[in-house]
Amino acid sequence: MQILEAQTLKKSYPVKGQAVLAVRDVSLNIAAGEVLAFLGLNGAGKTTTIKMIAGLILPDAGWVRIAGRNPHQDAKALRSLGAVLEGNRNLYWRLTAAENLEYFGVLRGLSRRVARQRGQTLLERFELTEKRTTVVQALSRGMQQKLAIAVSLIHDPQLLLLDEPTLGLDVEATQTVKTLVREIAAEGRAILLTTHQLDIAEELSDRVAIINQGKIVAEEPTAELIRQFSGTAYTVELEAELDGDRLQKIEAIGAVVQAHTVIVRDPALLYHVLDILKPLPLVKVEKDRANLTDIFLTLTQAYPQT
C-alpha cells in the first residue's frame, strides 16, 4: 500500500526579484514498510520537498497524499505524519523527556492518558526510561535525537519524515539511529530519510532517489542501482605473489596482475584464469561492486548547473 504519494511537486523562491526553481517536478512514492533515501548535495531541494510533503511549504504545482489525504487541505492527513526536521531541536528544552512525549501526544490529537501510556512504551523501547525526568537540555545530542524520533512516533503515524537525522551525531549515536530506523520500518511504517552520509543510505534504504538542482535524476531500488553501476570485472586475490610461468600465461590472455591480485576485466575469462592459478591458495574472488558514493558523484556531476 502506498502511504506517501507526491506528484510533480514544484517550488520556486524569489531571489533578488527573480524566481529560482528549487524543486522541479519531483514525484515520490513510498509504500508501507519501505525506507526511501533521498539524496542530494546541499541546496538540491531535499528540505523544500520534505516540507511540501509535511504541509509546511505550499507547492506552486503538484500534489501530496499521505494515506490518501492531502495535508494542505485536510488536517486529518497530519495524523498519519511524524517528522524530525533538519537542524531543529524539535523538542522543548525546558521540559523533561516524558513531558515532551505527553505534550506532543496531546498536540497530535491523543488524550493525555493515551499519550502517557505511549510515551512510557516509547521511552522503554528507546532505552530512555532512566532519563524520563531529565530536561531535554541536559541530555546528550544523541539522546535528544533519539527522543525527537520517539516524539515523532507518539501518535503512531504511518509516515515518518527524517531530514538529516544523523547530522552532528557521534559514531555510536549514528549506529543507534540506524538501528531504530530499521526497526521502525519493520513495523510497517513508510520512511523518507535524507542524509549526506551515503554509507548510511546504502545500508538502510530499500530505494534511493537522487535529487540534483531540484530534479530527480535517479530513482531505483538501492540494490538495483548499485548493480547497474557495478562493473563486470572480477578481482582474484592470492596468498602469495605469482611466479614467472603463470604470470606470463595470465598476462597473455589479457588479465592484469598487481602483486597478490589478478584483475579479470572480461568475466568470460574468469574460469580460464582460475584454471591457470590452480592449485595456488586463494584469499578471495570478488566481483566489482560500486558503492553509493561513486554512483551519487557520477550522477550529480553528470547533470551540471543549468
Binding site: 488536517a75 505524519l81 526536521l85 531541536r89 524539535n90 521540559l95 513531558e99 505534550y103 498536540l107 497530535r108
Partner: protein, 257 residues
C-alpha cells in the same frame, strides 16, 4: 480542545516554575508596581477624598492594561520564541489548526497570568488592609475587552509571521493600546461616537470605567455593542492570521526567523 488546553496549561506552568528566576522577577515587578499604586493613590487621594473608588478604578485600569499588553504580545512572542527554539514547525504539523493551537495557548497563559495577578492583589490587600471592590457586573465588559485584545494578538502574530522581526512594532503598539483603553469614547457624541464604537476594545473599556469609577449600572445596549465590537475584532484577527499563515507557507518561511 479541552485536552489541548490542559496540556498547554501544564506546559506553561511547568516552564514557569522550572525556570523560577524569571517567574520570581515577574512577580516582584508586578508586586512592586501594585504596591506603588496603592501607596500613591493613598497619597494623591489624601484623607479628604473618597479613597475607595479612586483606588479601585486605578487598579482595575492598570490590571486591564497589563493584561491587554500581555495578551497582545503573547502570540507574536510565542511564534518568535518557538522559531528560535526550533519547535515552531512541529506546531504546524498537528491535526489542530494553528489558530486553535495559538488561541488555546494564549488562553492558557492568560489563565496563569490572572492567577498570579489575583494572588498578588490578594496578598497586597492582606498586607495593606485595603479593600478592592470588584463588582461582578464588570465581568461581561471585561470579556469584550479581552476578545478585542485576542483579535489584535492574532494581527500581531500575522505581522510576526510575515515580517519576522516585530519587537519595535510591539513597543509602539503598547502605547496605541494605552490610548485605546484610556480614550473616553463613552463621552463622545455624533460621528465621533460611531468612531468610538469602531475602535478596538474602546467600547468595553469605556463601560468598565462607567461601572467601576462612576458606579453606573451596566446598560444592555452598550454592552451588546461592545460584545459585537470584540467579536468582530477577534474574527478579523483569526481571518488575517489564516491568510498570513498561508502566505508564509507559500514563501517557505515558516521556520525561518
Amino acid at each position: 480542545m479541552t485536552e489541548l488546553f490542559l496540556a498547554e496549561l501544564r506546559r506553561s506552568w511547568i516552564q514557569l516554575l522550572r525556570y523560577s528566576t524569571e517567574a520570581i522577577a515577574g512577580i516582584v515587578i508586578i508586586t512592586v508596581v501594585f504596591y506603588g499604586l496603592f501607596l500613591s493613590t493613598q497619597y494623591i487621594a489624601g484623607p479628604n477624598l473618597q479613597f475607595g473608588e479612586r483606588l479601585d478604578s486605578v487598579i482595575v485600569g492598570y490590571v486591564l492594561w497589563t493584561l491587554a499588553v500581555f495578551i497582545m504580545t503573547d502570540i507574536a512572542g510565542n511564534l518568535q520564541r518557538e522559531a528560535q527554539t526550533g519547535t515552531l514547525e512541529q506546531l504546524f504539523i498537528s491535526p489542530y489548526s494553528a489558530t486553535q493551537v495559538f488561541l488555546t495557548r494564549a488562553i492558557a497563559s492568560l489563565t496563569i497570568q490572572l492567577t498570579l495577578l489575583a494572588s498578588i492583589l490578594g496578598l497586597i490587600m492582606l498586607l495593606t488592609g485595603s479593600r478592592l471592590s470588584f463588582p461582578l457586573a464588570v465581568l461581561p465588559a471585561f470579556i469584550t475587552v479581552l476578545l478585542g485584545a485576542y483579535g489584535l494578538a492574532f494581527v500581531m502574530g500575522s505581522l510576526s509571521l510575515l515580517l519576522k522581526q516585530v519587537q519595535q512594532l510591539l513597543g509602539i503598539f503598547q502605547f496605541a493600546l494605552l490610548f485605546l483603553l484610556a480614550v473616553p469614547s463613552e463621552s463622545w457624541t455624533g460621528s465621533l461616537k460611531l468612531l468610538g464604537l469602531l475602535l478596538p476594545m474602546a467600547p468595553g473599556a469605556g463601560l468598565l470605567r462607567q461601572v467601576m469609577a462612576q458606579g453606573q449600572p451596566l446598560e444592555p445596549i452598550p454592552l451588546l455593542l461592545a460584545m459585537v465590537n470584540g467579536a468582530l475584532y477577534l474574527t478579523f484577527g483569526l481571518v488575517i492570521f489564516r491568510l498570513a499563515e498561508r502566505e508564509t507557507k507559500r514563501r517557505g518561511k515558516l521556520g525561518g526567523y
